[in-house]
Each structure stands twice: as C-alpha cells, then as structure tokens.
C-alpha cells in the first residue's frame, strides 16, 4: 500500500492534507482529553509501536511473508483516534527520517489506513466481540487491511481522470479504476486473512500475559 511520491496529483494530495490536518487537530484534542498530561509520551510510544508492528512478518503459506500493518491491534488496544495519530506520525517518520514512502502520498495513507482502517477495525470489534471474540478480532484485522486498500485503489484509479494533459495522457498514476481495484484489492483480501490471524493471536498473547501478570 506504500505509494511513492509522483503518482498522486496535487489536486488530490492538497485537499487530502487539508482534510487530514483538521482531523489530526481533532484527534489530538480527543486523545489529550483522555490522557491529559500523559498525552505526549503515550503518543510517542504508540508511534514507535505502530512503526515496529509494520515490520512484523505476516506469514503467508509457502514460506513467503508480507508486512503486517498492526492497525487492527492498535485500534482495538488503544482506540481509533490514538491509532490514527500514531499511524500518521509513523508515515511522517518513514517519509522524512527513514526515506521510505512518500510525502505526497502521506495524507492519503494516513486517512485510508490510520483513520478509516482503524475505525473499521474498531467497529467490527465493538459490534461483534460479545457475539464471538475471535471472529471480531479476525474481522478487525481483515477490515483494517482490505478497506484502506480499496480506498487507496480508488484514489489511484481516479488519477487519470483528475490529471491528464491536452491529449488525454495521464500525468500521474496512469491506470484507471478498472485496473487498480482488482490489482490492489484482490491481493489484500488474502493478506488481510493473514493480518486477521495475527490480530487474533497477538491480542490473545497480550491478554494472557496481562492476566498472568495481574494474578
């Protein structure tokens, strides 16, 4: 889902920055209301956490791996607004400190993964956890991958229509929705399964560890 710079038109990323900036401000106030003086250290720690969760190997059958996103785990454990802030900061850190991922794609990724991904995961978790905890966790992980992938596919697929020259040749990402939707979403439907399993296992490890420590 990492889009390098140069595929997103300014007609897309400038409004996305405006929207994201407003939501970052709102998220910061929400988190601050909850944590008060502890806001800064907790945001920092969860940003580092989001960073390393994205490095965790997501095992796929046949010995290959993808990278986890950890959005489901983050959202379920720490709430949607915190996850949104942490993931946005990770994207900024990756773009401007590690040189990995783009500064123009940042608001798109932050909104898709950080905001929509987190709240989809949270919704699945809150709605279904009383019915079936494992299913709720699995869906939280799966949705946190698949919904953002679909959003990113839509944004990419709209680029030829948004930005093209007088002859109709694309200026940025060159493929339309008919290509991006299947090409981006289908692999993520599978990767989402692995993320779902990891969300279930990771959450179980954590609760077991906590209850043992508390006992």
């Amino acid at each position: 889902m990492h889009i390098p710079d140069g595929f997103i038109s300014p007609q897309t990323y400038l409004p996305a920055y405006a929207l994201a900036a407003g939501l970052w401000g709102y998220a910061a106030r929400r988190v601050h209301r909850q944590l008060d003086a502890d806001t800064l250290p907790f945001v920092a720690a969860y940003t580092a956490l989001a960073f390393v969760l994205m490095m965790v190997a997501l095992p796929l059958p046949g010995g290959t791996t993808a990278h986890a996103a950890g959005i489901g785990l983050l959202a379920v454990c720490f709430g949607g607004w915190m996850a949104f802030l942490a993931i946005s900061l990770v994207l900024a850190m990756q773009a401007l400190l590690f040189g990995d991922g783009g500064i123009t794609a940042l608001p798109i990724n932050a909104l898709a993964m950080g905001l929509v991904g987190s709240f989809c995961a949270l919704a699945a978790w809150k709605l279904l956890t009383r019915l079936h905890e494992t299913l709720a966790l699995f869906l939280a992980g799966w949705l946190s991958i698949v919904v953002p992938a679909a959003l990113v596919a839509v944004v990419l697929g709209m680029q030829p229509a948004i930005a093209h020259d007088a002859q109709g040749a694309p200026l940025f990402f060159p493929f339309g929705l008919s290509i991006t939707l299947p090409a981006v979403v289908l692999p993520h439907v599978l990767v989402g399964i692995a993320e779902g399993v990891l969300t279930v296992l990771g959450y179980r490890y954590l609760t077991r560890l906590r209850s043992r420590l508390a006992a």
């Binding site: 920092a44 580092a48 490095m55 490890y205």
Partner: protein, 184 residues
Amino acid sequence: MNRDRLLLCLYLAGILAATLVHDPVWLGAGLALVLLLAGGDALRLLRRALLAILAFNAIISLSYALMAWWQDISPWLTLVRLNLRVLLLTSLTFLFIARANLFRALDFSKGLTYVLGLAYSQALTFRRAHEDFRLALASRSLRRPSLMDRYRASAAAASWYLEKSLHAANQSAQALRSRGFFHD
C-alpha cells in the same frame, strides 16, 4: 527562522513545484539542480533513489507500455514524465534528509519535537529488537518453520512490542513529570 526550518520550507515548495510542472524538460532540469546541490554525493544519491523506486516504477512502466501498445498509443511522453518526476521527488527527499535536521526544523513546537524525538529513538530500539526476534527464530529452526510457528513467533513479537511500548510510555510520562516538562 533557523536554517533547518528554511530547508524544510524550500523542500516542501520544491515538492509542490515538481508536481505542478509537467514538461519533461523542466522535470529533468529539476533533477539536474538537485544533483548539483548534492555536489560530491550526487552519484550516491542518484543510485539510492533509483534503487528505492526501481520495483514499483518498473511494474507500473512495463504494464503501461503494454497497455499503450495494446491501445496503439505512444507511451513515451507519459513514461519519461512519470519516471523523471518520481526520481526527482525521491532524490529531493533524500537530499533533504541528508542535509536538514528535521528535529530542529520543527522546534517551534516543543510537543512535536518531543513526540518525534522519543518515537524515533524508541523506533530504532524496536528495530534492533525486531532483528533479534527474526534471527532467534532462524537460529532455533532446524528446518523451515511451519506456518503456525511463524505465526506464533510474529504474534509473540507483536505482543512484546505492545507490552514494551506501554511500559515505555509510563516511564517517559514519569520522567516528564520529574523534569517539570509541563511547568516551564
């Protein structure tokens, strides 16, 4: 305005400009300017940027060439423009990272500098730990580990990071208080 903040503003303006011009000649001139500014590091910078974009751009370029051939349109302008632009933006970002101190550029906000600094140093620690988790599984495996074992190892690592970051957050919150961060 300190030097790093000025560089950050110039960098952002450069990014915007590179997405507003569409003539390959201007994009090429921009790339030449970035390499000129890099001076002695130009070749290394170019090589790093090329490596970073290679996989993604190769796939996009090849599929676009294929599609253009299929629809019988000339792909050249689009391909040159797209790849030049991506290379320019990536080189510009790498040059900014190499020349500017992001923490000083953002020091107008004490909170932002603190969050970014702490997150960055913890991220580096976690990255080292992550390498150990990976190597430990490799070291203990006589055969290729099963899918279930790989899941367990990943889940154990993920929950360890969760626990550690919770602990780190509490520690740094206490450190902040003891240093009177909120009262000066």
